[in-house]
């Protein structure tokens, strides 16, 4: 039986300016070593959940446990064990790829030797070795996205949170990223994967949950979710069935 890496219990969050909660009594368990798809239409509460999980936002109610520790109490300590690749390209454009990664490695508190070996390893894995000395502002969207992902992995986190990691990248880059994530999972890393691309989620996620309007609609292993809706041919059909076809803002 797999242990849970993340446990959210009755999580509720409402923004001051908003008339309704972004997340309502969300209870969720994320097993260790899983690729957990956090899916939902716009405004479903995915980003809010991710922000709370990273310790960047406090819930109004509920508990957040990461690796057995209370995130609300030990956020600073826990963040060192989490790698986050935000949807934004969170890099310094006028620094080179190497300089960016070395700086982030330093900020993780890693020793120089480890930073160098990690940079070398991941630049090679993501096909960026030859671009190490190039300034990031000269990179294509796909290259930036890959580098953005590397920056989240330098400190060998046990839990990786990815927000739209393939947004704006070409097919080749997307394939490389997805293959890498599957490989990372086999090494025991837990991955929380938030995306709108259901085809990707179906390909790599072992577990998933679908949120809508701040509430959990369904959760479980990918197989159990698919099996619960035999009339649907793929995840996208299940998603539309559960969340409806109305346009969300």
């Amino acid at each position: 039986m797999s242990t849970r890496v993340v446990h959210l219990e009755h999580l509720t969050k409402q923004y001051i300016q908003s008339s309704k909660p972004a997340v309502t009594s969300l209870t969720l368990e994320i097993p260790e070593g899983s690729v957990f798809g956090l899916l939902g239409p716009n405004g479903a509460g995915k980003s809010t959940t991710v922000m709370i999980l990273c310790g960047l936002m406090r819930p109004d109610a509920g508990a957040v446990s990461v690796m057995g520790e209370d995130m609300l109490q030990k956020g600073a300590l826990l963040r060192k064990k989490i790698g986050v690749a935000p949807q934004e390209i969170a890099l310094f454009p006028s620094l080179t790829a190497y300089e960016n990664l070395f700086y982030f490695g330093r900020m993780y508190g890693l020793p120089s030797e480890l930073i160098r070996s990690q940079i070398e390893k991941y630049l090679h894995v993501f096909g960026l070795s030859e671009k190490a000395k190039k300034h990031v502002h000269t990179f294509s969207g796909g290259m930036k996205r890959r580098l953005n992902l590397i920056a989240a992995l330098l400190h060998q986190p046990k839990l990786v949170i990815l927000d739209e990691p393939t947004a704006g990248v070409d097919v080749q880059s997307r394939n490389l990223i997805l293959d890498f994530l599957v490989d990372l999972k086999t090494q025991g890393t837990t991955i929380i994967y938030s995306s709108h691309v259901l085809e990707e989620a179906e390909r790599i996620c072992s577990h998933l949950s679908i949120l809508d309007e701040g509430r959990l609609i369904t959760t479980g292993t990918r197989a159990s979710v698919m099996d619960a809706h035999p009339e649907c041919r793929n995840l996208e059909q299940i998603f539309l069935k559960l969340t409806g076809k109305n346009i969300r803002d």
Binding site: Y15, C54, L56, M57, R58, G75, A76, L77, R79, K80, I82, V84, P86, E88, I89, A90, L91, F92, P93, S94, L95, E99, F102, Y103, F104, R106, M107, Y108, G109, H135, A151
Partner: protein, 422 residues
């Protein structure tokens, strides 16, 4: 290590930003040189400026001769003779000459007669023999000085004062001469004395400065520390721009995600821009010492202790960096931060005495000036450069600058936390 890494990162970001480099290092140097040159003439007082002054001599006698003689070796006035008072007025009105002195006809004769009448009256009052044949009431001598309306008030006062002093001197001599004449009437053996009145009272001028006598506030001495502070406070431009850019581009979010505490990141940034401010300071001081004399300006004199000057520079750098951080944190967009920041620095500099010294400002502004950190810094630099002040003397301003820095940083942390912890 995190702080050092952040300092190195900021260094790389700055050296790869040619606009930022120019703004931090080249523009202030150009600004201080231009401002020192522009303000050189206004800062030179009457003693240092030589004015071309027209003289219309309608007297042609000893009084006008005395005036000419008095100004002959004057370092401040160059007398240019003009025959016609109408032409002289026209030339002054056109701005070609700053002033014209018109000595009317018969001035010397009238002054002599008036002096004689005066002495005669005194003699009569004391019962002494006196020739009272000349009892005509003489009109006052209408000596005129016409000024260019654009002349500075202090030049006008100085020239008027000099003329009045010459006339008074002539009058005193003639009174003494006439006194001797009337007392020696009928006694050919009495030898008249030509008194040297300048030896009666010596007015010695000096400055309340032990080290540099005769060393006063000049254009370089005012502009170098003043514009150095302006440049240091303008650090907010690259600092706020950089911080907001990181916030908008998301790299700040990553830093928040990485580190438990933001202290190393903020400390690193603060330390880097603090050092940039100090480098600016050293460069500007070097310009004052080595470049200004090459441009015909005074050399910047560092009268006080180097350690205290550095202490003041560090305090100003702290205040400037703290202010930059506050502006960056408070405003949400770069446009808002940079517009407000730039204008606020200009206002703080104006009321702080950067553009013109505080003592020439109206009283209200002088009071307001006490609230500008630039005024605190400038006052300290003037205390050190001109008055060789001690630590005790500059300490209140140092404490204000450091306090300002701590308050701005504290407010920045408070605002940052209020906006990020939601």
């Amino acid at each position: 290590m995190k702080i050092l890494a952040t300092i190195y990162k900021e260094f790389l970001l700055l050296i790869r930003d040619p606009g930022g480099m120019a703004l931090i290092f080249i523009m202030p140097l150009a600004l201080v040189v231009v401002m020192a040159l522009v303000q050189d003439a206004p800062f030179r007082d009457y003693q240092e400026v030589k004015l071309d002054v027209l003289m219309v001599d309608q007297d042609g006698d000893s009084l006008s001769a005395k005036v000419k003689e008095a100004f002959k070796d004057s370092p401040n006035v160059n007398l240019v003779m003009e025959g016609d008072s109408v032409t002289a007025k026209r030339l002054v009105r056109s701005g070609k000459y700053k002033a014209a002195i018109i000595i009317p006809p018969q001035s010397s004769k009238t002054l002599r007669r008036k002096t004689r009448q005066l002495i005669t009256t005194v003699f009569s009052n004391f019962g002494l023999p006196a020739d009272r044949s000349d009892s005509a009431v003489l009109p006052a001598i209408e000596l005129k000085i016409i000024f260019d309306p654009a002349i500075k008030k202090n030049y006008q006062q100085s020239l008027s004062g000099s003329i009045e002093k010459i006339i008074a001197n002539v009058q005193t001599h003639w009174v003494l001469d006439e006194l001797q004449n009337q007392l020696s009437e009928g006694n050919e053996d009495v030898k008249k004395t030509d008194f040297d009145l300048s030896q009666i009272v010596n007015v010695n001028q000096g400055f309340a400065s032990e080290k540099y006598q005769g060393f006063i506030l000049n254009s370089v001495q005012h502009n170098v520390p003043a514009w150095t502070m302006f440049a240091m406070f303008f650090i907010l431009y690259p600092l706020a721009g950089n911080l907001i850019k990181e916030r908008e581009e998301g790299s700040m979010l990553r830093l928040r995600l990485i580190s438990g505490s933001q202290v190393p990141v903020i400390t690193g940034k603060f330390a880097f821009y603090f050092m940039v401010c100090l480098i600016q300071f050293l460069m500007m001081i070097a310009v004052g010492i080595f470049i200004m004399p090459l441009l015909g300006l005074n050399k910047l004199m560092l009268g006080g202790s180097s350690l205290l000057i550095l202490l003041t520079a560090c305090s100003v750098a702290m205040a400037a960096t703290g202010y930059g951080v506050l502006i960056a944190v408070y405003f949400r967009t770069a446009q808002q931060a940079l517009s407000f920041g730039s204008v606020s620095v200009v206002i703080l500099s104006a009321i702080g005495g950067v553009w013109v010294p505080v003592y020439v400002m109206p009283e209200v502004l002088q009071t307001i000036s006490g609230f500008s950190p630039m005024s605190w810094g400038l006052e300290s630099f003037n205390d050190l450069f001109l008055r060789q002040a001690s630590l005790v003397k500059i300490m209140p301003n140092i404490l204000k600058l450091v306090g300002f820095s701590l308050v701005t940083l504290g407010a920045s942390v408070f605002i940052h936390k209020a906006r990020t912890v939601v």
